[in-house]
Amino acid sequence: VEIPGFDETWRAAAGLGDRAAFGALYDRLGARLLAVARGLAGAHADAEDLVQQTFLDLYRSRRALARARDVESYAFASLRHRAAAALRRQRSVPLEVEPVREDLAPREEDPRLVRALDDLPREQREALELRTAGGLTFEQLGRVLGVSADTAASRVRYALERLRRSLGAES
């Protein structure tokens, strides 16, 4: 499945590490990667670091990226691995709470929703964030998670149902 937007010219340039090619990659995926990173990492500064690290990973594996059948899935899979590694480190190192920068502070959010999202099992949270914030299709979601599209869709559905139950129970 060829995803439009990453044509042969882009792939050739990206494979060589061209700055403009990676700029185009950011323009296409940066906001969505950041939105998913925020969902997976929690703190906003961590989310930005996560996206930066993901782009560095993509740059280092640029030849594989240029050959990837689905560049979007490849990028989101890189982000997912980065987020998992960051989570493992967070668990082994005591958390230090940093003040959130004013310009990056999230808008006023429903604390019930935040709590309900935090209570989701990890694999459901991942699937839901990649689907809603990343805008991936179920086929892409399956590729990123290493499961079938049906399993990916089920995870999203379970997550939504669980969220609905949590929010309904609290209201």
Binding site: G17, R19, F22, G23, Y26, D27, G30, A31, R32, L34, A35, V36, R38, G39, H44, E48, V51, Q52, F55, L56, Y59, R60, R101, D103, L104, P106, R107, E109, L113, L128, E129, R131, T132, A133, G135, V156, R157, L160, E161, L163, R164
Partner: protein, 101 residues
Amino acid sequence: VSELDLLERALRERAHSTPDAGLRARVLDALERERRGERHAGFAAAAACWLVAGLCGWAADTPAPEAGTRGSVAAEFARGPDLAHVPRLARPLGPDGRPLP
């Protein structure tokens, strides 16, 4: 539109509500630093190869020391003894002066 669809839509809107505050420039700067680092590493590796090749060439071009000098003795010592001229051990002789069978 089901309740779950509405919830999914709300989550989509929530996800894209916060600006990235110059992350694009930060990411591209980081890639530029990485590119420069790779280039420097490439230069360093090339310089190391050039140095090794130069040393090997210098060693190959260096003439052997003349016989009788300290260098030649050291070279012979390093080569080990030349046993070609040492006679092979004869079989032990019997009481009659002939080699034992």
